[in-house]
């Protein structure tokens, strides 16, 4: 009995994600959540080129917080972005356009998708939500620069491999998409809200929801 004691109390090895989080020694719980979501995106959902960023909190200045609704909240908000293997979201009207013009999802350039990692019990308000969308363009810009620096040619699909008719259609599509971005007819800015189940008895499941800025009609399928 005594002899077995040593072995009985030995803990199982930490999971890869726990090791990862421990290694990085994050000083904020938000970053730990972020690491967990990043792990999940990369390994469960096979996202690629994942990069992280952060919206800094306004911890020191509590007075101005209540005055200016545009200031970010006290806590920092981490942000992740990457390329999903398949499109996560297509606006219903965009889908209709693609259908009508014979454009398949595979024909399109991959799009970088932004993710906000959150977890149960953490403070979350409309101010947090607004802070994310207000800074999204800036992060998009940064991410594009990053992509350019890593692989300057990745963004240009081999145009020569397409037949001219398809290329024409795609050109029209991108044209329309740019217009739709301005009119918001294919939805406004969007990102994913990742919610980690970490509470009592939480199993580390990550639920992903698409969040749109403003009123965007739901998909019907």
């Amino acid at each position: 009995m005594m002899a077995n004691k040593q072995e009985a109390t030995k803990r199982p090895n930490a999971s890869a994600v726990t090791e990862h989080i421990t290694e990085k020694d994050y000083d904020s719980p938000h970053l730990a959540t972020s690491a967990q979501v990043q792990h999940n995106l990369g390994h469960q959902h096979l996202w690629t080129s994942i990069i992280g960023d952060i919206i800094l909190g306004q911890a020191e200045d509590t007075n101005s917080l209540s005055r200016d609704p545009h200031q970010p909240p006290r806590e920092p908000i981490p942000l992740l972005s990457g390329y999903p293997p398949h499109r996560v979201y297509t606006h219903p009207d965009e889908q209709l356009y693609m259908l009508e013009n014979g454009i398949r999802e595979d024909d399109l350039k991959p799009e970088r998708m932004f993710v906000v990692p959150t977890t149960q019990g953490q403070p979350w308000t409309l101010r947090h939500m607004a802070a994310v969308f207000d800074r999204l363009p800036e992060f998009k810009q940064k991410a594009e620069e990053h992509d350019q620096s890593v692989n300057p040619t990745s963004m240009q699909l081999g145009a020569e491999s397409l037949d001219p008719e398809k290329a024409e259609k795609l050109a029209l599509y991108y044209d329309k998409k740019e217009k739709a971005r301005l009119t918001k007819e294919w939805g406004a800015q969007r990102c994913l809200l990742a919610m980690v189940d970490k509470g009592m008895g939480g199993d580390g499941t990550v639920a992903y929801y698409v969040v749109h800025e403003g009123e965007v009609k739901p998909r019907q399928n």
């Binding site: 308000t125 409309l126 749109h212 009123e215 739901p218």
Partner: protein, 318 residues
């Protein structure tokens, strides 16, 4: 049908609630201002069911407030206004009763006309049937049978089920045999329970109008969505504060389950999952939002409406 009521439309304030009793006001507000309210009354023509309901229409305080702020409606304290019934002049009383009687006569006449027409139609159909049957019978050369008799029996109206029909039938059945005769027996006037009290009451003066209704903190989001063309209805039954429809709920499914938050009010992440899940399950979006300003930071509710931000959630499917 595209009736234009006189503005502002009086909204009845009764025992702390906001009600409409005039069908013209209800139709007008729905058509022109996308305000639907909830019908809560019994339809006298089919009183034993809950699928189709009738007047009065209950308005949310938000709806009443929006209409008052727009200058489309005003709030009338009906208890006070109905004190006027005690001081009604005998002359007005008589005139009102005369009006009601002539309306009642008119209705009686319409009823008997309709009855008459129905009867004629039925007879006509019967005759056609008879003629057809006759032709058929002759053609088949089996002239001995007369199948018209039982048929006749089944197609004669037997208005026993509907109380309404009974009501209108009482005299007809006893008086005239079912022939094509056009003689209408003299009708006595039907008594009428009017929907509204105006007349005989005079329109309440604007000085007596109550102030704009108090509204819950969710009002800015309500007004914001309304300004974007959505039709809104109470949503607790579906697990939210409001249901938002892209068009008249008579014809369209709702797009959003709506919940309002204050700008710095904590949102439980699990509530977002639950709401998103609930919405996606019924092909609707879960919409959260609220005003960036508190009521103490601005001069009016309208100022808060301008600063509303909203976000829609759907399950990402991953």
């Amino acid at each position: 049908m595209d009736f234009q009521p006189e503005l502002p439309i009086p909204i009845s304030y009764v025992s702390g609630r906001y009600l409409l009793f005039s069908i013209d006001a209800v139709t007008y507000l729905r058509r022109e201002h996308h305000i639907c309210g909830v019908l809560i009354g019994t339809l006298p023509q089919i009183p034993q069911q809950n699928v189709f309901l009738g007047l009065p229409l209950e308005l949310m305080p938000e709806e009443a407030r929006l209409l008052v702020d727009k200058g489309v409606a005003c709030i009338v304290d009906e208890a006070k206004a109905h004190d006027g019934m005690n001081t009604l002049l005998e002359e007005d009383r008589r005139r009102y009763l005369r009006d009601l009687e002539s309306q009642g006569l008119h209705v009686s006449r319409i009823q008997s006309d309709r009855k008459e027409r129905n009867r004629e139609q039925t007879l006509k159909k019967l005759e056609e049937k008879k003629a057809k049957a006759k032709a058929k019978a002759e053609a088949s050369a089996a002239a001995a049978q007369t199948p018209t008799v039982p048929e006749e029996g089944t197609s004669i109206p037997s208005p026993k089920n509907a109380a309404v029909v009974d009501l209108f039938n009482a005299e007809d059945r006893s008086s005239s045999p079912p022939t094509a005769s056009t003689s209408i027996p003299p009708q006595s006037a039907m008594a009428i329970t009017p929907a509204t009290s105006y007349p005989p009451l005079p329109t309440p003066p604007s000085s007596s109008h109550l102030s704009a209704p108090a509204v819950p903190p969710s009002y800015p989001l309500f007004a914001h969505l309304h300004s974007k063309g959505y039709f809104l209805s109470p949503g607790l039954r579906f697990g939210c504060q409001y249901m938002a429809y892209p068009g008249d709920p008579l014809r369209f499914h709702s797009h959003f389950l709506v919940v309002s938050y204050d700008w710095d009010q904590n949102i439980d992440i699990m509530d977002l999952v639950a709401g998103g899940r609930l919405g996606t399950g019924v092909k609707k979006g879960f919409l959260i939002g609220g005003s960036q300003k508190g009521i103490d930071e601005v001069d009016s509710e309208a100022d808060r409406v301008d600063t509303v931000r909203a976000f829609s959630l759907e399950w990402a499917g991953m």
